[in-house]
Symmetry: none
Subunit: 205 residues, 4 copies
DNA sequence: GATGAATGAGCTTTCATTCAT
DNA sequence: AATGAATGAAAGCTCATTCAT
């Protein structure tokens, strides 16, 4: 079997095993066995456990960001962009459940080399969402009355909500990507429209 | 030093160490040293690494749920309940950063015994929020036009948004609990009010 | 068993095993078994294979240099100093055959950390011998007609000869330290006296 | 490229690599790469790491012994024979530094198969030197008053001295083979002449 | 109540060696 | 004649856990 293909299978196996048991708990023995090869071969191709994991995270991050960016089409109206981005995201999380685990749970759990990678990916998504919200505010309003700091907060909230719904969908197979996206659009877009339109909850404290 | 107090100090140390380095990376040696006692004493009191971690998770979960429940006062109007619950939550995450790490990151990263505990805690919070949203819909509307499944989805979204904002606050010390709560209320409550009032985003797909 | 004693026994075992099979060939398992303890204990006390070996080399070097220095008494006439130094050296090599192997063969065979240590030891011995020869030349002659570079060469030759005779004695148990010392004195001192007295072989090339 | 030549290049590479890093530290990968061929080819020609090393040691031993024997011309007077033998030896050690390392350090460091080979070579040299010394004694004296055992000891001393000076020359490039040979002749021949002439150091102990 | 001393089990990594082509 | 692909075996090291005191 040619090297490139074997390597891909190893990454598949690693994502599967690490996604399920975590980085530390996954032993190289286990990963090699899941890939159907011997351990030395894994080392020959991927060099070390750390590099192997890095390669997994990078590949999954590229896949996810790519899918979301492909969904968000610059010309569309903001709500449609968001809707399609979310759908792409939930679809990724459903179809590559182990990959999503690797990105969302496993990578963020381990010091420097991995957490930074996962953060970079998350920040790319956050930037997308931030731009979207700012855009919506501007297009609705003529001028943006939402300060950057607040927009960023909203983006964080939105991304966190999406992550949470993806996790929920992971444990309830009847929840389709479309339904999760609909739920989140209902929650988020209605609120954002309101905000943009000047409706705002006033603290009673 | 009386046993109860020593035990508390051990848990403090364990939460600190595990919160920072993770369950697997934290060695019993390290924890014992951080607690200022010898390793056998840790075993005498807490029996095993697993039980020690379980005790940490349980204590932190009790603390967090307690704080949130104390905030949510049954008689208050729904928005005020939510506001106070969120404030309590962000305050906990800020004041006991290591504890929050243990609950949010560390516990969910390790098989069965711990993930289940963390889930239980999360579900208590979710139940609280779900009830709150249903309540708001009912009080505003007379009848709830929001089906249970959707309310649950909204609750998940809200909780995920809160978690994300807590993480954000963790890496930007200028973000106070109140500001995080305000951001989330702006995001969530405006939308919820809209939903309840029948405003709803219509999918274009 | 108290730590200090155990540690000494570990070093004994390590010197024995490494002296016989060499640094690389000696496994930590083997050394631990020879010391009658478990491998983790060896690591607990000596930290790593490298540090363990370093400790061996240092201890043996100290022992050997100490023995030789104790033999060479500053007040004695040079030939007597040399004779006693050599006797002490051959006695060490005979009594601690494994230690001698460690210093002479094993340590010089491995990069930087160890070779340097062994070299340092050898240089201490060389310095001693160099001083002795220079001294002999001076005392015999009033003035030294032997240039430093040549004296150094002679010292190297003498030390090499001693090492070679020690190795020979190692494989022929009937050779006592005294006999080796006598052989070398016969070889070296007669020549040195001759050199000092101006007798010198003239190259025919 | 014809097999014989390829094989020679492999041995060259092996001597180079093993001479510098040692037998164990040198990996077959490294040697194959240094030889500019693939690993299986090394196995095809040399069968195993052990046989490869054996071939190296044998070749270098043959080269060294051959060079020394070519120097020692049977008809010459003993001192001239020794002088030329030493010069040949130091020249070999300087010109084939890696080969000398292999013989002197690497081969003697590893069990049975190699140490024996190196010993055989050393014994050939020792026999040469022993014969030379006995010869000198006889020719000077009519009858040899030096017992065989002592002559052997002197030969060991002389060879050890030569080895030590070769090592010294290895770390100081200004030392030419001729100078090393001169130093050793000064040291050894003056003494041997004295011995033969009946001058002898009398132990004071 | 508290600890110094000790270990079984397991993990990552490396390397000599061999097929199939 | 030559190699890319693959592996069995073993080594260094760590850690949760337990006695004996």
């Amino acid at each position: 079997m040619p090297r490139a293909e074997r390597e891909r299978e190893m990454l598949d196996a690693a994502v599967r095993v690490i996604g399920r048991s975590g980085y530390q708990a996954a032993s190289m023995d286990e990963i090699a066995e899941a890939a159907g090869v011997s351990k030395p071969l894994v080392y020959l191709y991927l060099n070390s456990k750390e590099e192997l994991f890095t390669a997994c995270v990078e590949r999954e991050a590229r896949t996810l960001v790519g899918a979301v960016q492909a969904g968000v089409r610059a010309g569309d109206p903001p709500d449609r962009q968001l809707w399609r981005g979310l759908t792409a995201f939930f679809r990724y999380a459903a179809e590559r459940a182990d990959g999503w685990q690797v990105l969302h749970i496993r990578a963020r759990t381990h010091g420097e080399p991995f957490a930074r990678l996962a953060d970079t990916m998350r920040e790319q998504i956050l930037a997308l969402v931030t731009a979207l919200i700012a855009d919506a505010a501007r297009s609705e309003h003529g001028t943006r009355d939402l300060p950057a700091r607040e927009v960023e907060g909203l983006a964080h909230a939105l991304v966190g909500a999406a992550e949470s719904l993806a996790t929920r969908a992971g444990s309830d197979p009847t929840l389709t990507p479309a339904e999760s996206a609909r739920t989140l659009m209902a929650f988020a877009w209605t609120g954002l429209e309101g905000l943009v339109a000047g409706r705002r909850w006033a603290a009673g404290e």
